[in-house]
Symmetry: C2
Subunit: 338 residues, 2 copies
DNA sequence: ATCGAGTGCGCAATCGATTGTAATTTTTTC
DNA sequence: GAAAAAATTACAATCGATTGCGCACTCGAT
């Protein structure tokens, strides 16, 4: 920031009145005469006066900035969340500060510390894969800075949340495979300590039960990255494990699965059906196109920001609230058409 | 931001000294006795005192926040740039505010206006596809807020820049195809008004000249999106146009090309070689894996941020500087192995 | 005993905007 | 025409931190 910016004092000096009068005139305060108001307003417009946001922040003790902590920005899902956040933030005069935790607990703590001694009015966070405690978040609570979790939350930490209906999404995907006639469905699951993975796994299991399909625990494999999927898929093929479908915890993993299946001459979806999770843009680009569970990232961002704004405005009044967003199974060519 | 934060006054009151003494003690000012310094420092530590960044911003007229304007965050390249920016920013005590222009000129102007009347010490920008003038940026210049362009710049606007060697990248890719024996190389080009596309096109053309290959202007097609690539590729196939390679301006377009080629039974790389640009993560996920020109996004972010910090610190002293980052051809399976 | 230098610290202004209260001017009323 | 009421506007404090200037005090030197 540099000089050359018009202040309320400049206007006051030019009109030979006091800064306080200028301030009141600009806010249409009843104490100020119409004549003065007109003078002030026209001069303010002419000089393109804007109140200095920093001065306002200092006085009002609110910065109109919110902090976003996100695991990795390079994921389509997370960047769409950010877009949703930005949209709503902009509409309400908030600016957004984004920091990545890189899925690291230590980094997440650092980022939070920076935000704490900083200027944010509220925080939106999706915790890293490594995060298991919430000491670093407690401080926000203590200082009265509202927190809203999105997508990944800490169950024990009481606060507003926007999450995906992971259970339902996984249930639908699995049930679709079962209805398709699949009986030995492999699940490439996410980290055991993440609620999100637990719920997807639960949906997977429940769909089996509801449809009277026997569950084989050996079909659940913990693998949630592209590179690892290449290896794990090859392993299960080599091991002679029998399977006729694979449901993965995200689309990158599904991409790795598809690639390895095809490399081994296994036809998708003839021999094996594959369903991913996330509806990343790769889902349309890979071959065959990927049937996947769409997560409304943009909507999630919008809702999270709305909840945060509401919490900032209404302080502690409202009870804590959790928004569960519906998923949708997007059918493409990695499953048989119905 | 809420209360409960320790201020310099609180410390002063507790020690029955003046705020100014506390301030000086904390900064190890020689006027203050060691005894007082020790008292202040230990109490500050105990109370976990942090200077209020907003108060500092107001006084110093610098916020230690920099603004980033980016076309679309969902692109791997841009999100890696942001990661690089964030890394260097963090190391130097800067925070980052990110806003997207969504490739729209109007939105870009809005974002810039917000930043202008805001609190940023500098701006990093990659202009939208639609942007042709720079009135909205001139204001930053006028107010002494430094600008650094990354990836996409406005030629007429004098300022620091970090760009990719688009020409060289395109040249290498094209030459590789020529050496491979390709003679009718289609180029899916980006918008004509973008320097970046012009340079890639230039590299494509120059590689032909240098290698004595005749240029057929009908092989240059303006198409830079996945969906459009599906259509355009089908068009050139149906039109009976002869070609034996396709070089695209980005990886999404290449993905569309690959998909359509395979759909039409055209073998890659046997019949047609394909090279993309960007080294997006899809390059490894699609089938066949995509040979592409890697753009060092993370490095670009780092460099841009370093240049901006340097410019903020050294004001107008240094002459304007342009950093040209090298590209690298990443060989994968959409071209013949050498 | 007094002057001068040196030490340690506080006052007050500043950054830009806001707001309770006081002060001034204008208008009204008897 | 003077006092009371109403209408305007100015003063000063505030948000938190910094800093030029000056004050008070100590101590050695003359």
């Amino acid at each position: 920031m540099k000089s050359s910016n018009v202040t309320i004092k400049d206007i006051a000096k030019l009109l030979s009145i006091s800064p306080s009068t200028v301030s009141r005139a600009l806010k249409d305060h009843p104490d100020i005469s119409q004549t003065t108001k007109d003078q002030v307003n026209s001069l303010a417009k002419e000089l393109n006066y804007r109140p200095n946001p920093i001065a306002l922040s200092l006085r009002n003790r609110r910065s109109n900035v919110i902090g976003v902590v996100i695991p990795e920005i390079v994921h389509y899902f997370f960047s769409s969340v950010i877009s949703g956040i930005e949209k709503v933030a902009g509409e309400h005069g908030y600016s957004v500060m984004v920091s990545q935790s890189d899925e690291k607990y230590e980094r997440e703590k650092e980022v939070c510390t920076t935000f704490q001694h900083s200027i944010i009015d509220g925080i939106l966070i999706s915790i890293s894969k490594e995060t298991n405690d919430f000491a670093h978040l407690q401080k926000f609570e203590d200082e009265g800075i509202p927190i809203v979790f999105f997508d990944r939350m800490i169950e024990e930490f009481e606060s507003d949340r926007v999450i995906i209906n992971d259970y339902e999404g996984a249930f639908q995907a699995t049930e679709y495979l079962i209805v398709e006639g699949r009986r030995r469905i492999v699940h490439f699951a996410g980290p055991k300590n993440r609620l999100i993975s637990q719920n997807r796994l639960k949906g997977y299991l429940e769909a089996h039960k509801k449809n009277g399909v026997v569950i084989d625990e050996s079909l659940v494999i913990y693998c949630d990255e592209f590179d690892k999927a290449l290896i794990e898929t090859q392993k299960i093929i080599d091991s002679g494990l029998k399977f006729d479908a694979i449901f993965t915890v995200n689309d990158f993993t599904a991409a790795g699965v598809l690639k390895t299946l095809q490399k081994n001459g296994i036809k998708v979806p003839t021999d094996v059906s594959v369903i991913g999770f996330g509806n990343d843009y790769i889902a349309e680009m890979i071959e065959p196109t990927l049937t996947t569970v769409s997560q409304p990232g943009f909507t999630m961002g919008e809702r999270a920001m709305e909840m945060l704004i509401n919490r900032i405005k209404n302080e502690k009044n409202d009870p804590i609230h959790t928004d569960v967003l519906p998923t949708k199974l997007v059918l493409r060519n990695s499953t048989k058409p119905r």
